[in-house]
């Protein structure tokens, strides 16, 4: 999937402004990519090309950095995001079963988005919310001590409610 962006798109203008704040320094690349992802939800190729031009770095380096770090996505993410924490504390408390259940309920693999683009499923390394294990994050909300047997219905309900 690709998007069409024009130089006068306000979002593109914002990215350009932010790059200027960093004096278009090549070492600010990761910080710039954070901003692009925050604005677009992922890293669209046309915007990355703009970053290449402005920071005067090779496209291979921008692509290399974008794919090296887990936090960045080159694909659009779902309208809503369901993130299952797979940190050790969550794992020993059944996070694997939660992930299995969500995969079954929505027919999704981690990293995928439903065909209608409504829900994306992902796994996190560790949210650092180990006192709440096992934890799932639905959009911005942390769901604590999640039960694998009810998590599917719970997320379905949240999707319907939104």
């Amino acid at each position: 999937m690709s998007i069409h962006v024009t130089p006068d798109d306000p979002r593109v203008k914002r990215v350009a402004r932010e790059m200027k704040l960093y004096d278009r320094r090549p070492d600010a690349l990761i910080q710039i990519l954070h901003i692009v992802q925050e604005i677009f939800g992922y890293l669209p190729e046309p915007v990355l090309r703009l970053v290449v031009k402005e920071l005067r770095v090779p496209a291979s380096r921008v692509f290399g950095v974008s794919t090296f770090y887990h936090y960045f996505s080159l694909k659009p993410r779902g309208e809503h995001q369901c993130l299952v924490c797979m940190g050790t504390a969550c794992y020993v408390k059944g996070a694997g079963k939660i992930l299995d259940q969500l995969q079954k309920t929505f027919g999704l693999k981690p990293g995928d988005v439903t065909p209608d683009g409504q829900l994306g499923l992902a796994q996190a390394r560790c949210l650092g919310a180990c006192g709440l294990a096992p934890a799932v994050v639905y959009d911005e909300e942390i769901l604590a001590r999640v039960d694998p047997s009810t998590v599917g219905g719970m997320v379905q309900e949240k999707l319907r409610g939104s």
């Binding site: 320094r25 950095v65 090296f68 770090y69 050790t88 504390a89 390394r125 560790c126």
Partner: protein, 553 residues
């Protein structure tokens, strides 16, 4: 700024009213503490009590499982489960001088015999002393409890050499996990001749199950900044970077605020306290790569490149960020600096054990009653942490192992629980101190599956630069996966035992060098579980599914 005047003024302000501190750490925040805070503030306003009570947010109070937590500052009473709907009742009890109902009372300093009292009594707080006591968003409150006094004292009466001597005397060792003597590291960077040097704070807390650094940054950000500034003076650097995980938005926000207010008051920036010393700090946000906790990979990431390590030497102390001499310490290490300067290296070295001075912060998690953040003197035993502070294993289950050091550490069985917690003892057991992850497992955890879990982590996080780590972790993961499915052979086990030491010995950086530790430690202490999977096609803990094998049989 006049530190004494600001401190006196802030102390007077803080002393005027009763203070209700509401935990705003990520754990309590997730159970709705922000709403508890606003509800309490609203109630105080509605009842016209603003002149008597102050309701303020604060850092992590430790007992993360019992949130939202509220602390009554002067009386040292800690209240649990103060959800917004309970706020009114709790406020009545607190202000009416009535007894706090048992469901909310977690701990009171005046009643040392309470059932959970051990959780607090066996702890000793240096790094976390301000967490839960001050508002992390207020520079004035930090100054009121003695903040930036160490920086001031140093700049007005100490030489670089004296600062380093004090840190060396303290015996402080790097809290990132490896335990390298901090004073020695500082001295090496200080000796380098270069007009430009850097100080980096490693806040890329990537170990799954660890949240110590996050809690310090969220609860007491100025403490870390002050430690960095002291380090900057000692080694001769005028610029610092904090490299923080993107997964910690609240920590980043608090840190940004703290930097801004410190700059405004001239505690960071040019000519601090009107001396010739200038030091400023910038935040760099990581992007989810575990390997960036390795110092040379972290440097590459700050430079805007892929986080791949490079061979050492040269060490960053000699050639680090932009090839300049660079000091890298972890969050917790920096948080220890100000108290060492204020109270002296001798004081610090009197805490803990002779070779392991001071305290260590651990994040208790997993199958343990009291999950949360604790700080204990070095040398305490694992048993004391798990059973006295942690309250033991819930649901009547049996303790099986404790995992320290995350993917680089190992699993320690019950037979070794009386081992003191220090760098060397944990290493002898095949684990490491690590940054402070402390995960307890009961008899429902399968040790082979745990080894597979960590190997999967290391395989995914291997940067791919060197072959032993890239191929070795993948190979070991596949073999472990086979064993978990009941399809392994004794030959696979032999192969694992051959691969593990090889990957350890030949990998480029710490990630590969320690990746086999969870495997090796479980093989050492829980070999019978491996053989049960292989010979009997049985998972003793009932975790691994062996349906495929069952069908064939």
């Amino acid at each position: 700024m006049d530190l004494e005047k600001t401190a006196a003024h802030a102390r007077a302000q803080m002393g005027q009213k009763r203070r209700l501190l509401v935990c705003a750490g990520a754990g309590c925040f997730s159970c709705g503490s922000a709403e508890t805070l606003s509800t309490l503030q609203k109630l105080v306003k509605e009842r016209g009590l603003e002149t008597q009570v102050d309701v303020v947010p604060s850092g992590c109070m430790g007992a993360c499982q019992k949130g939202p937590l509220v602390q009554l500052a002067a009386d040292e009473i800690l209240l649990q489960g103060v959800a917004p709907q309970n706020a009114a009742a709790v406020l009545d009890q607190v202000l009416g001088g009535r007894a706090i109902s048992p469901e909310h009372k977690l701990f009171s300093a005046r009643e040392p015999d309470a059932p959970d009292a051990h959780f607090f009594q066996k702890q000793q707080k240096i790094v976390l002393e301000n967490c839960g006591r001050i508002n992390p968003e207020s520079l004035e409150e930090y100054i009121a409890v003695g903040g930036y006094h160490a920086l001031h004292k140093m700049l007005s009466e100490m030489t670089r050499e004296a600062v380093i001597a004090e840190i060396k005397k303290s015996g402080l060792r790097g809290r990132g996990g490896a335990g390298y003597p901090t004073g020695l590291k500082w001295e090496t960077v200080a000796k380098m001749v270069n007009e430009q040097k850097y100080v980096i704070c490693n806040a890329d807390e990537g170990d799954p199950g660890a949240f110590m650094d996050r809690s310090v940054l969220e609860g007491d950000p100025h403490r870390v900044l002050e430690g960095m500034a002291v380090a900057g003076f000692a080694v001769g650097a005028d610029k610092g970077y904090v490299y923080c995980r993107a997964e910690y938005p609240l920590a980043i926000k608090r840190l940004e605020q703290a930097i801004k207010s410190a700059r405004r008051e001239g505690l960071l920036g040019r000519e601090i306290f009107r001396t010739g010393f200038s030091f400023d700090v910038e935040i760099r946000i990581g992007a989810g790569a575990f390997v960036c906790g390795e110092e040379t990979a972290l440097i590459a990431s700050i430079e805007g490149r892929r986080g791949q390590p490079r061979p050492r030497p040269p060490y960053p102390a000699e050639s680090g960020l932009w090839k300049k001499p660079t000091l890298i310490n972890n969050v917790e290490t920096f948080a220890n600096i100000a108290p060492i300067l204020t109270k002296g290296g001798e004081w610090f070295s009197s805490i803990g054990t002779p070779k392991n001075a001071g305290t260590k912060v651990f994040a208790l998690a997993g199958k343990i009653r009291n999950t949360g953040l604790i700080e204990v003197p070095m040398g305490i035993t694992l048993r004391e942490i798990i059973f006295d502070i942690g309250g033991g294993i819930p649901a009547g289950r049996r303790f099986k192992a404790v995992q320290t050091g995350g993917p680089s550490g190992g699993c320690i069985p019950e037979a070794h629980l009386d081992t003191p917690v220090d760098y060397e003892s944990l290493q002898t057991l095949g684990s490491i101190m690590g940054s402070g992850g402390f995960i307890v497992m009961d008899d429902t955890s399968c040790m082979v599956d745990v080894a597979r879990f960590f190997m999967e982590f290391c395989m995914d996080e291997s940067c791919g630069k060197c072959v032993p780590c890239r191929v070795g972790t993948k190979h070991m993961h596949d073999l472990l996966g086979k064993i978990c499915l009941g399809q392994g052979t004794m030959g696979d086990l032999a192969l694992l035992e051959e691969l593990a030491p090889m990957v350890k010995a030949t990998s480029l950086c710490g990630l590969g060098m320690t990746a086999p530790n969870p495997l090796l430690s479980t093989l050492r202490y829980f070999r019978d579980e491996y053989t049960a999977h292989i010979r009997d096609h049985r998972c003793p803990a009932g975790v691994c599914h062996m349906d495929a094998v069952e069908a064939v049989r």
